[in-house]
């Protein structure tokens, strides 16, 4: 989650759900929390019962809106304009938390002279390279910095060659950055921010978002009235914010609002990132992502990081917590390769695969469709239903040599060769598909032990309740067995490339008649130990860069402290404080509320009695409070770093964001973001309207796949696809349906795919409640039932009326209940930071009745031509945008 990582230092929710009960105002935006997180929503209800104001901003009136004090309808894809409007309001009306902003954010930092804003360049920042379609962050830096300021929640920028300056470790001069604490300097972040959002006025918000001006002002005022010394407000978001071509910037925008209001690191404040299902947080901490190693350590890139020293140089920071980077990577390598990792062989660094380019999900599937991928493991996922352009996903699967699907049921992905629409239609014959498909029955969570890392970074251990039926095994068993067999296969090889497998430690103890590996042994390895005696370390501060410690994920270090399974702790809430530090275990170091040093003022006293959380105990010379202090425990508030200090010494007593190179919350991101230092309103790739603010229509750094099997609509106002559509989930189903559409008790509650439309649109498009409807995009056509409801409202943008429709995405062609897959309608497009698709805002057409012939662009359906007199419009200014790709889809 770089949006949070770049702004605050760690890519996880800044708070915990139980703390929402302390909020005085909660804004839920980009999330349908009551439906998608009903259990966590109890804390929102608790806050409401205690008198908090609940605001829900969403294109649809949902079960969350039904509980809200204020519901604000807005156009899907316009959230940055709304949040930018809030920033504008805060700054113009001086409603920001002055002391917090001056001391705890980078507002006073002065930027280089050559930085240019979107106001100067009609929607572009300085540093844009039209050749590659990418930004370079050099002009976004603080004045006087050597090279790029290291970002804590970085992605590629951080490890790019040359990003570190000329042969020096970055961030050396961070203490020398000129700052203007009066916030008056024209180039200080505060003034830059003011200028960037100067045009995001309530009128403009209303015009772009379709939100009545008074309603917007009511939200802004409520939020301000409930923030400050005595009161705090929280934001909750989920994939309604992330799944956009500029998604990460949505979260950045909220981070700016919360920093300005002084709501980060304080009880009842924060930004709650609601994760889609069990252990999604865990799967980015110990990642299933191609570009990260455990604990947000970046994967090395092939050309620039062949040697460990070079790799460390590219990623280390001279200041802040990432100065500890060498300790974490060396300990990780020791965990991977054990005795085979020595100082002489650079701890086996050369065995780690190196990235050669973009291997994100969409790139991989596009390569697959072009016949460049041989084999594919699909575990715990059903991409044919759950991922974008399902037909293109299936086309990719057809071109594989082998496919392994491990799941509870025969999902659509496992059955793509047998019952997919194009197979039933006759476009594809099963006998022509060469892919060898292996189905591995998987154990459910009740049939295996292990941890979940939930939405609030909390690890909770679950025990095995029953044995898995038949041949079903846990993912851990499967991978352990796979590793064992690979090691056996390559045991006698003398080739250097096979040394990585030979050197890998793979000595997990097994138990039971099925010889299943012990999950607790894995947890122990993740926690880390001293190599000499195998004793678990108590936390990441004990890790060393001399090979004397091994640790599978530094961020989780401490989860097996004292040889105790910390996530398995279940002390009842009534036997401990409300923070419940002895229930499970949260990373980092069991802190529940991050950056909590900010809950105290400059001198270390609570901002107010009402919002007391962590404070400085001068007598004991330590930070103390309700939670584990998120600060160097004995560093007094008065401590100031000196010029020339390095590493953790740079963190002053007033630097609550200690993961950051400068210890401050980043209003302005001098590095780390691929698409600009400040969130800027860009339209979705398919929009009903042109960008009202800039000549640049869409995110200039976005990724596109311009292929025949992935056609896009006109950039805006496409007469063929006049309606805005947003996709979502229902309480009654689980994502792509593998865990719910096979259960009668869940399937009966939401048996069929439907489209939600307003009565006005129903009249216009001649749709009947309960009747049938066909939904079209250039990617395909699907059939569904119609729900006509006043929960969907047409919006007014200036003089125009814009209709929005909603489509849940749970259905497919296997299971107890079937239906067309909504994601067959979505194209491949990606945000440049996390390669996420734009499934929350695109356009479509609706026709009454059942008209689908299951045609898909991925299987040769040609898009309709634009009507006569209508011409294509550009998504970019002249010379801007993703570079032309070599022609693909050779058929």
């Amino acid at each position: 989650m770089p949006g949070l990582g770049i702004s605050f230092g760690r890519g996880g929710a800044t708070t915990f759900q139980q703390d929402l009960a302390n909020a005085d105002c909660i804004v839920i935006m980009g999330s349908n929390m009551a439906e998608c997180h009903p259990v966590g929503f109890q804390w929102v209800m608790e806050a409401r019962e205690r008198g908090a104001t609940l605001i829900h901003v969403d294109p649809r009136f949902t079960r969350t809106s039904a509980m809200a004090d204020t519901y604000v309808p807005l156009r899907a894809g316009s959230d940055i304009a709304f949040l930018g409007g809030l920033i504008h309001y805060l700054l113009e009306n001086e409603r920001y938390f002055h002391d917090y902003v001056v001391h705890y954010t980078n507002a006073p930092a002065i930027l280089r002279e050559d930085f240019q804003d979107t106001e100067d360049l009609d929607g572009l920042f300085s540093g844009y390279d039209p050749e590659t379609g990418k930004y370079g962050p050099h002009t976004w830096q603080y004045e006087g910095m050597d090279g790029v300021v290291p970002a804590a929640g970085h992605k590629e920028v951080f490890s790019e060659p040359g990003a570190g300056g000329h042969g020096k470790v970055r961030g050396k001069h961070i203490t020398e950055v000129p700052r203007d604490k009066t916030l008056q300097h024209p180039r200080c972040v505060f003034q830059v921010l003011k200028r960037h959002y100067a045009r995001y006025t309530p009128d403009v918000v209303s015009r772009i978002c379709g939100v009545p001006k008074e309603l917007f002002l009511k939200v802004a005022k409520t939020l301000c009235d409930n923030s400050g010394r005595e009161r705090t407000s929280a934001f909750c978001y989920a994939v309604g914010w992330t799944q956009h071509s500029v998604g990460v910037q949505y979260i950045r925008a909220a981070a700016i609002v919360q920093l300005l209001l002084g709501n980060i690191g304080r009880p009842g404040g924060g930004i709650m990132a609601l994760r889609g299902h069990a252990s999604i947080q865990g799967s980015s901490d110990i990642p299933t992502l191609y570009n990260l190693l455990p604990g947000y350590i970046p994967m090395p890139h092939a050309p620039d990081a062949q040697r460990l020293a070079q790799y460390i140089h590219n990623n280390e920071s001279a200041s802040g917590w990432w100065s500890q980077f060498p300790k974490y990577i060396v300990s990780l390598l020791k965990a991977y390769y054990g005795d085979a990792a020595t100082k002489k062989n650079e701890w086996g660094f050369h065995w780690i695969p190196k990235l050669t380019g973009d291997h994100s999900h969409m790139s991989t599937v596009a390569n697959m469709a072009d016949g460049q991928v041989k084999g594919y493991f699909v575990m715990g996922e059903n991409p044919v239903v759950g991922s974008m352009n399902g037909a293109l996903q299936r086309k990719g699967l057809q071109k594989l040599e082998w496919l392994v699907v491990s799941d509870l049921t025969l999902t659509e992905t496992a059955e793509f060769w047998r019952s997919a629409p194009e197979v039933l239609r006759g476009d594809v014959r099963p006998q022509d598909i060469q892919t060898e498909v292996f189905f591995i029955p998987a154990a459910a969570h009740t049939e295996k032990e292990g941890t979940f890392t939930n939405t609030q970074r909390l690890l909770q251990w679950h025990h095995k309740a029953v044995e898995a039926p038949g041949e079903a095994r846990s993912d851990l068993s499967f991978l352990y067995e796979l590793g064992r067999r690979l090691k056996k296969l390559y045991a006698d090889s003398r080739e250097e490339k096979d040394r990585a497998i030979q050197a890998l430690t793979w000595d997990y103890p097994t138990k039971g008649p099925r010889e299943e590996p012990e999950a607790e042994a894995v947890l122990r390895e993740i926690n880390g130990c001293t190599v000499a005696d195998g004793k678990p370390v108590s936390g990441f501060t004990e890790l060393k860069d001399d090979g004397s410690t091994a640790c599978g994920c530094w961020l989780y270090s401490g989860c097996y402290a004292d040889g105790v399974n910390q996530p398995a702790r279940r002390k009842p809430g009534r036997e401990q404080t409300w923070v419940a530090s002895e229930w499970g275990w949260a990373w980092p170091a069991n802190r529940r509320l991050l950056y909590n040093r900010a809950s105290a003022d400059l001198e270390g006293r609570p901002w107010s009695e009402r919002k007391k959380y962590v404070w400085w105990d001068a007598q004991r010379g330590r930070w103390t409070g309700e939670d584990v202090p998120d600060f160097i425990a004995d560093r007094p508030p008065s401590y100031r770093a000196d010029k020339g200090d390095r590493g953790l010494d740079v963190i002053s007593g007033d630097d609550p964001f200690l993961m950051q190179a400068d210890g401050k919350g980043w209003l302005f991101a001098p590095s780390g973001m691929m698409d600009g230092p400040l969130p800027t309103h860009y339209e979705p790739l398919e929009s009903p309207v042109p960008n009202f603010l800039y000549g640049q229509q869409c995110n200039p750094a976005r990724h596109e796949w311009r292929r025949k099997d992935n056609p896009m609509h006109r950039a805006w106002g496409d007469p063929r696809y006049p309606y805005v559509v947003t996709t979502y989930r229902l309480t009654e189903h689980h994502t792509a349906g593998g865990m719910s559409r096979w259960l009668s008790w869940l399937s009966e509650l939401q048996p069929e795919l439907f489209v939600e439309v307003s009565p006005e649109l129903a009249e216009e498009a001649e749709l009947e409640n309960g009747g049938w409807c066909t939904v079209y995009t250039a990617r395909g056509e699907i059939e569904c039932r119609v729900l006509v409801t006043e929960r969907m409202r047409p919006l007014r943008l200036g003089g125009r009326r814009v209709h929005q429709v909603g489509l849940p995405y749970h259905w497919g062609y296997t299971g107890r209940v079937h239906g067309d897959s909504t994601n067959d309608l979505i194209g491949f497009t990606a945000d440049p930071n996390v390669s996420i698709q734009e499934s929350k805002a695109f356009t479509c057409n609706l026709l009454p009745g059942r008209r689908s012939h299951d045609r898909r662009a991925a299987f040769g359906w040609e898009p309709w031509p634009l009507p006569p007199g209508v011409v294509e419009v550009p998504r970019d200014l002249e010379g801007v945008g993703p570079p032309e790709q070599p022609p693909q889809d050779k058929e």
């Binding site: 009903p38 079960r63 509650l749 039932r785 729900l787 006043e790």
Partner: protein
């Protein structure tokens, strides 16, 4: 033991249907089929032999006074319905076999091994709760988790409810809590809040409900009867009326006979 029951506070219901699923799982009830009804998010329709908890979704063109909704007057009400375990239970009083009993928890329970499927209870329930299952013909309804209460466990639906919309406990205590809740909501400006069936005074037709509700609109809006009356409640009046009717008919018959005789004689 004491009187056990539910207080369902509909202002806290988020419509997640966890109660429906928990009920079906604990009681191992079959599904109701897989049809989209087109009635908001409600696809199980109503209580029946295989649905013992049912969440109603009411989309209404009326705003809640405590809510600001952009663009139009609207609110979405959700309410989890269940067997009311009436003080005067029509089903129990109509049951000719003694299959329906009042338990030690003051709940109303159908003993499946005694029920002969006559269906009298179905007609006798003023709420339409009891229903016969087509495959076995017997009558089924919420047991208030009799098998859990015996083990001192909370009924499955209340246990699963994430927002305390369904509260389980001693009816006396629940009534007090509910009354306080109504007052609290009134203070907040939700003056429409009221209790449905909390006691005999509140609902004479049933003698009060062990499973009562907090509502914010008329009962009909939630598909509840506005003035439910257990048929046996009017038993005495019915017998008296029938008696008068019989007497009247006897008089008429006698008169006809006597009069007829005179005509013949004439």
């Amino acid at each position: 033991m004491g009187q056990k029951g539910f207080f369902t506070d509909t202002t806290l219901c988020i419509g997640c249907k966890a109660c429906e699923v928990a009920c079906k799982q604990w009681n191992q009830l079959p599904d109701d089929g897989f049809q989209l009804t087109g009635m908001s998010y409600d696809n199980t329709g109503h209580l029946g032999s295989s649905t013992w908890r049912h969440v109603a979704f009411v989309e209404r063109p009326v705003p809640l006074p405590t809510q600001t909704v952009g663009l139009l007057d609207f609110s979405w009400l959700m309410a989890s319905d269940v067997c009311k375990h009436c003080q005067r239970a029509g089903c129990l009083e109509a049951c000719p076999t003694g299959a329906i009993i009042r338990t030690e928890f003051d709940t109303v329970y159908v003993q499946p091994d005694v029920c002969n499927g006559c269906g009298y209870c179905v007609a006798a329930c003023p709420f339409g709760v009891v229903d016969r299952r087509e495959d076995d013909g017997r009558a089924w309804k919420c047991t208030l988790c009799y098998d859990r209460l015996g083990e001192d466990m909370t009924p499955a639906c209340a246990k699963a409810c994430p927002t305390a919309s369904i509260q389980f406990g001693d009816v006396d205590e629940l009534r007090e809590r509910a009354q306080r809740r109504v007052e609290q909501l009134h203070e907040k400006g939700l003056e429409q809040a009221y209790l449905y069936g909390a006691d005999a005074e509140n609902q004479p037709g049933t003698g009060g409900l062990n499973a009562f509700f907090l509502l914010v609109d008329k009962p009909e809006v939630y598909n509840l009867p506005p003035d439910p009356v257990v048929p046996t409640m009017k038993g005495r009046e019915a017998w008296v009326s029938a008696g008068w009717g019989a007497l009247g008919m006897a008089v008429v018959a006698l008169g006809a006979v006597l009069l007829g005789r005179e005509v013949v004689r004439g």
